[in-house]
Symmetry: C2
Subunit: 412 residues, 2 copies
Amino acid sequence: MPLIVQKYGGTSVGDPDRIRAVAERVAETARAGNQVAVIVSAMSGETNALVALSKELGGEQPTPREYDVLVSTGEQKTIALLSMALHQIGVPARSFTGGQLGMLTTSAHSRARILEIDTARIRATLDAGAVAVVAGFQGVDAEGNITTLGRGGSDTSAVAVACALQADVCEIYTDVDGVYTTDPNMVSGARKLEKISYEEMLEMASLGAKVLQIRSVKFGMQYGVPIHVRSSFAPDEGTWVLPEEDVMERLVVSGVTCNKGEAKIRVRSVKDAPGVAAGLFGPLSEAGIVVDMIIQNLSQDGTTDMTFTVPRDDCRRALEITESVAPALGAAEVIGDEDVAKVSVVGLGMKDHAGVAARMFQVLAAEGINIQLISTSEIKISVVVQEKYAELAVRALHASLVEEGTLETAEA
Amino acid sequence: MPLIVQKYGGTSVGDPDRIRAVAERVAETARAGNQVAVIVSAMSGETNALVALSKELGGEQPTPREYDVLVSTGEQKTIALLSMALHQIGVPARSFTGGQLGMLTTSAHSRARILEIDTARIRATLDAGAVAVVAGFQGVDAEGNITTLGRGGSDTSAVAVACALQADVCEIYTDVDGVYTTDPNMVSGARKLEKISYEEMLEMASLGAKVLQIRSVKFGMQYGVPIHVRSSFAPDEGTWVLPEEDVMERLVVSGVTCNKGEAKIRVRSVKDAPGVAAGLFGPLSEAGIVVDMIIQNLSQDGTTDMTFTVPRDDCRRALEITESVAPALGAAEVIGDEDVAKVSVVGLGMKDHAGVAARMFQVLAAEGINIQLISTSEIKISVVVQEKYAELAVRALHASLVEEGTLETAEA
């Protein structure tokens, strides 16, 4: 009997009517002859309300252990309510908290990583003909403390459960109907992808497409479980995230993304000597700041410019740290700039098509958009531009590389 | 070092300000050189909101297992928030859900009974100099399913934890400042008791005084842990619930209670033969209906009248069951009556004072109140009267037996 794992996000279970609709969908899937495990998020708004309470009583830095005890109640509510709703329509169901499931994680509160899933209780539930309803986002550490995976972690829970159960598919139900070539709110020509490879999805998730959590894509890729991103509110097929070899229509560029959540820091005239990069990025890393792009200019007169990007929320702290180490690096000046956006194009076909970067630069130049930084990987090119040009850049790149470029598939 | 268990009810933790006030109170207790374990209820309103959600999705009879998964989130929220608030004022604290604590219960969802408490984790927390913050009302069964003790079960959790830890005292913080001789809203002469015996408290709790859960008093009595009922909002001493020998001032009557939550059922002219009572009360018990008072009239012509009381909420079901068995018992008629109230006087001194019942009947007669049923125990006399006379009966009995009767103590 096929085993399907379904994940419903916060908006999909946002009120009692929607929970009932989810129950109907789960019931249909079960009645069609599938074993079904369902992973749910907290009802939309619930987590924000809990976070607000925690700020009120725990301040800006509430006790990490207690924060997780608090926010994990959100998903616990949903599993109980969905199980009740399933019972009401005659479908046997059984709920599981992270602890009851045996979702073992690291002890890093609010950003725990899944170590192991004990599937015995879910298997027993499925084999008894019932639906297993699992709280996403949460687990327990080896000491039995409640942990959470960080926001959006329910995707990761779902794919991890699907992998542990060797499910036939992990369906991610959400408020959009699939993965688009770019943000449809920004570009009218955006189109839904039927299929996309794990690798492309990973790049797109990293670059700001919010449809799937990065770690969930990594799990799916590692264990080869197909992920199907689709709408909670419509019956249509969404987008399948699959191994590269199963994605037939290899677009040169399958997506254009935009991320306005970064900031740029430039360190002028540092000594061009061994140890300088370590002296700068060591302290940033210790402060838990994730540096994204790093560009070092060609050296002139024994000095060089070093420019990097960090999450905009961390920009002030990153500037302070950079300024504190700047004298030791012989730097002339540290300049922060939040007026930037990162625009990227992603596509498996870029492996075989050398011309994409050149074409990208031509398109941007034709629009008069200055490129501040460039960074590339095998299937991605990112550029940093002034923020006000971000939409224009996305639209122009999408028109040229996706809408016109569809002819130029790898098969062609 | 003295070990104090404190329990704060829903109104005491009803909003963030009150949770902060509780944290201050706990901090004071800890700083005064005590080990402190705190048991908390859900924030007031929270449980009602969860119950409303469960009705919406699970109907009038939501899946019992899932109902407990749902409502237990209320207390889980409070333990996290109180622990955060304690951290904020520099008091180390650690929260425990029923499952984390090892509060082992029966599997009877929503009315589970505590079987065993594993105190190791609380002890370790207290010995490490931290406050243990425990979710009241909840536990787990042997299979790890979440259970709840039924409404008001946090009192029971608190006293059970105090007993398991052999605490020096279990303080029950509530929105009243102690146990009164009668309802102060009804009788202006009501006064707060300094001390009351477990036995009296048990009778008063059974008879409708809502200040303490019956099972919690039983635990305290069984393990000899003093219970101190006091106000969350004032520093004054409340009422101590103690072994009989520690209650010095033995009032003849220490309390007058009133319960309007019962209904009376009369079965007329049943056969006066062996097996008749079993034929009637057996089916009621199987239906989970708790029968309180049972009165059988003297037999006449081989038939007798049987009258009993049941919770008013169960009256309709009890009537149906009684009517269904009535023919087999040869009953002439079944008559239900919800227009009743039970008024009771309780006092340890009644053991030695034979005249209380007579005086009680005199007082009621003088007010022109007809007594419908009478039931007595060693330290209690209850009468059923027409509901409209309930307040009058309470006021008259309190005036005569408590206010005037204080002179007539057992020492006198």
